[in-house]
């Protein structure tokens, strides 16, 4: 592969949620273009540890773009400059020798910083807990082929269900709105027949929790869709709004 790069990193360092953070500059030298962005940070961290300095803390796990744990704001964009990728799937060939890279955590009051680049996204869990499920117990369910679901419907529900819950939509939004995330789950169940019986109460419960967590409102800018690493569409938000409105007008039993 072509030559190695020398880079300047400006990284947000913050000891915990009680202290103020600041940018610290590091040099990352001899970085191969084949490295992933997180492997580049691994290299920097190994150097820091050797010097006895606390390594840069960041969340990451599967490094395959599916777990949704990595969450870096790179040069002003969630998950960096490439469209449709998570940070872990971003490779250094997207950068050039001599470049300065600014790395920040997600910025949203509903996502407080835990340390350095790691933030607390449990607000997302709580929204799901409020209604992101079908009320079925294990066992006693009908055969899987009892209800045929048109392929186009199943595929559309799948598209919504692929949300990885990383929070890039919130980080990208000037209002720190979580509408794309919430609407993806509401859409999946609004589309699938299994989600019909509770579609209105679900929409209300999840939206109420979203508001309680302090996420901002949606002003239809579309930054969330543009930055979503898995391509969750803005139409989900339209569907959520319809579900929510219907929920306000109709009773649950009139939904069907």
């Amino acid at each position: 592969m072509s030559g190695n790069m020398n880079l300047t990193l400006k990284v947000w360092r913050q000891k915990n949620d009680k202290t103020r953070g600041k940018f610290v500059t590091y040099q990352a030298n001899g970085i191969s273009q084949d490295m992933s962005f997180l492997e580049m940070l691994d290299v920097v961290n190994e150097d820091l540890v050797r010097k006895g300095e606390d390594p840069i803390h960041f969340d990451h796990d599967c490094r395959e773009g599916i777990c949704g744990m990595c969450s870096l704001h790179i040069n002003g964009r969630p998950h960096g400059p490439k469209q449709g990728t998570t940070t872990c799937q971003l490779h250094m060939r997207s950068f050039h020798d001599g470049q300065t890279i600014v790395i920040e955590p997600w910025r949203a009051s509903a996502f407080p910083v835990i340390k350095d680049l790691a933030v607390d996204r449990t607000a997302f869990d709580r929204i799901q807990q409020a209604g992101g499920y079908v009320n079925v117990n294990t066992g006693g369910v009908p055969d899987a082929n009892t209800i045929p679901i048109p392929k186009v419907v199943a595929d559309e529900a799948f598209e919504s269900a692929t949300c990885i819950g990383c929070g890039a939509c919130v980080a990208a939004c000037k209002n720190a709105s979580a509408m794309l995330f919430v609407s993806a789950k509401i859409s999946q169940y609004a589309l699938m027949p299994q989600g019909q019986t509770e579609r209105y109460s679900r929409a209300q419960a999840m939206v109420a929790q979203m508001d309680a967590e302090g996420f901002g409102s949606c002003t239809n800018t579309g930054a969330c869709e543009a930055e979503c690493p898995v391509g969750i569409k803005l139409t989900n938000i339209a569907r959520m709004n319809r579900e929510y409105l219907n929920a306000k007008i109709f009773k649950e039993e009139e939904a069907h």
């Binding site: 599967c62 490094r63 395959e64 599916i66 869990d125 209604g131 048109p150 269900a161």
Partner: protein, 643 residues
């Protein structure tokens, strides 16, 4: 001899009869019991949700920032179930048979049959949760053939089946959290097991944000903590996957079974350099349409590696589709262990491709010609994108380069038919137990096992144990809680006092090299003996010359990593011991001393038809081997043949 508690009677009736014979806990009494579930992957989430639905109080733990991120999420290909929706001759018995055979006759018949039996319920359950499986135009569920199966029994959601199933189980988990039946602890790592009078009664965890070392008591503890593939440093596991919970339980009395059984998956993106932190799997569903080949001669391979010729310059007759050539009936779909060994063989011969020469081609040219690029994109689009992203090579235009990588561990904590370990009250589910896959796991069977254990086995079997306990709450003031907590604290401080010159990753990488070299795709007496010494040496190096920074009372990823690697350094030696002991080849365990004339794995049923379960004896003491004889009453043991 170990007692597996497999019930008597005909194979097909064992589970039904056993369910009837298991004791029940009265619905009104279930709330008097607390069950601890560690790990929230498919096994953990499904178990926690199902037990909470029954009325038990559940405390669930995961090290990630959310239970939804457990590594089950990354499973790509699909989940097997004996639904026979395709009318192609599938049945519970056939799924059972394929799994037993695929595991090279080193799994328990009764467990595997039960797995096949409940597989059909899993699909029903997931559909009822709103999991958007792939469907046909008529609206019914679609299936594909997967990983060596000759029937189409694999249900899937594009290349993201694990994600969709896990989010289904996560939704069931969330529902019970909302109802107050599950208390969820994110960013908590289990660091020890608390036993009272030999029974599991709680765990010690570290809060990974504050560093608080806490005790949690429960009437039973379920470990659903996944596999130990990261002992190899490079694997397809997530970065955080570790053996710590299982290993600490092992040190408290849980036997560790068949640790040497590791699965090296044939289709992964090859290693590019020393900086690499993990390997990425390309789902083996790709082998349904992709053809594996290398140049026929070493000379051609050399020219290709040096860039003197292009791939397209290699004529059809100069390409060796070695799997199709050697295994005409299974072709590219031979089981994983066979595909991996053959890749190693051609690379060792000098016919590998890519700059390093450590790779083979997986070619879609014919599939694209036959099906069209759009169809191929619809089937594998996300995998092709991922490959493109990582390698900067377009797989629609040139063949993928692939090479085997550590993927799954069939070994794990020994459990009986009820999934209970050798410590009463301690259970192991999913990949962290050893029970269902023998010496080699078939594709699309890991998701099946995780959910079978969590949704449909443990809800029955745990009740049988609890029903015998009485209703007293666990005594949280029992001195063993404080004692174990102190020991954990001391261990943490011991790690934090290490101020040497090596980083934890330095040691972990070295361990990985040793394991890959001597306890990887091919193993022999000399290499394994050498590895044992090297690991012992490395362990000394770790405890004398590694550096761990920071304090306990903060988020400290150095400390987390150090604790996990310390445990891997102990496990690694046990894996080598187990591989040394098993002087036969079976499934993923290939002892060079034991092969057929054609170079295939050769079992020694007379001497090794048993589960090797190891009992911990204390620091630096050799572990004691217990054997569980494997009885095959229904299938005839044969030499596996995929020709």
């Amino acid at each position: 001899m170990l007692d597996s508690k497999v019930p008597a009677g005909p194979l097909a009736e064992k589970w039904s009869k056993h369910k009837f014979n298991l004791k029940l806990v009265n619905p009104a009494n279930k709330r008097k019991y607390t069950i601890i579930v560690v790990g929230t992957g498919l096994a953990g989430s499904s178990a926690a949700a199902s037990l909470a639905e029954l009325g038990y109080n559940v405390k669930a733990f995961c090290y990630q920032d959310s239970p939804r991120r457990a590594h089950s999420i990354a499973a790509q290909g699909g989940i097997n179930a004996a639904k026979n929706y395709q009318n192609d001759g599938d049945s519970v018995y056939r799924l059972f048979y394929d799994t037993i055979k695929g595991g090279d006759y080193r799994a328990r018949e009764a467990n595997v049959y039960r797995l096949a039996e409940v597989s059909v319920n899993i699909i029903d359950q997931c559909v009822a949760q709103g999991v958007p499986f792939a469907r046909e135009y008529g609206g019914l569920l679609d299936n594909r053939s997967f990983g060596g199966a000759q029937v189409s029994r694999t249900f899937y959601a594009r290349g993201q089946t694990g994600q969709q199933l896990l989010l289904g189980a996560y939704s069931a988990l969330n529902r019970q959290i909302n109802k107050g039946k599950i208390e969820m602890f994110n960013r908590h790592e289990m660091l020890d097991l608390v036993t009272i009078d030999g029974h599991a009664r709680g765990i010690i965890t570290r809060n990974m944000v504050t560093g608080a070392i806490e005790s949690h008591e429960g009437h039973a503890v379920l470990l659903c903590t996944g596999g130990y593939g990261n002992v190899f440093f490079l694997s397809t596991n997530a970065m955080g996957c570790n053996v710590t919970a299982a290993w600490r339980a092992h040190k408290r009395g849980a036997f560790f079974a068949n640790p040497c059984y590791t699965q090296i998956h044939p289709t992964c993106i090859p290693v590019t350099g020393d900086h690499q932190s993990k390997l990425t799997l390309m789902s083996e569903s790709l082998r349904n349409d992709g053809r594996v080949w290398v140049p026929k001669t070493v000379e051609l391979a050399q020219k290709l590696r040096k860039g003197e010729i292009k791939i397209s310059d290699i004529k059809e007759e100069d390409r060796d589709y070695y799997l199709e050539r050697k295994y005409p009936s299974f072709g590219n779909l031979v089981p994983r262990d066979v595909a991996s060994r053959n890749a190693k063989e051609v690379v060792d011969e000098g016919r590998g491709v890519g700059a390093s020469g450590i790779a083979v081609f997986l070619d879609f040219e014919d599939a694209i010609k036959r099906l069209g690029e759009d169809t191929v994109r619809a089937k594998y689009g996300n995998l092709f994108d991922m490959y493109y992203q990582i390698t900067d090579e377009n797989p629609y235009k040139q063949p993928m380069r692939i090479y085997p990588a550590v993927h799954y561990t069939m070994g794990g904590l020994w459990v009986d038919y009820n999934l209970m370990t050798s410590v009463p009250g301690l259970y192991a589910l999913g990949e962290c137990n050893f029970s269902d896959h023998g010496a080699n796991r078939l594709g699309a069977s890991a998701l099946m096992q995780g959910l079978a254990d969590g949704y449909f086995v443990i809800p029955y079997t745990v009740g049988d144990y609890l029903a015998g306990l009485g209703f007293d709450p666990v005594d949280k003031n029992h001195p063993n809680f404080e004692k174990t907590r102190k020991e954990v604290e001391e261990n943490v401080h011991r790690l934090l006092s290490l101020k040497g010159s090596k980083t934890v990753d330095d040691i972990h990488k070295k361990l990985g090299h040793i394991m890959w070299e001597y306890c990887g795709m091919a193993r022999n007496e000399v290499g394994l003996t050498k590895a044992k010494g090297l690991i012992q040496e490395l362990r000394r190096e770790f405890w004398s010359d590694v550096t761990v920074l920071g304090e306990n009372e903060e988020m400290n990823q150095s400390l987390e990593k150090a604790g996990r690697v310390a445990d891997f350094l102990e496990l690694g030696e046990l894996m080598v011991d187990d591989a040394l002991n098993r002087r036969e080849s079976c499934g993923g365990h290939f002892r060079e001393e034991s092969q057929t004339e054609e170079g295939e794995a050769k079992r020694d049923d007379e001497n090794f038809r048993y589960v090797a379960a190891w009992e911990y004896q204390g620091e630096n003491q050799p572990e004691v081997l217990h054997k569980e004889a494997l009885e095959f009453e229904n299938v005839k043991l044969t030499q596996r043949s995929y020709k």
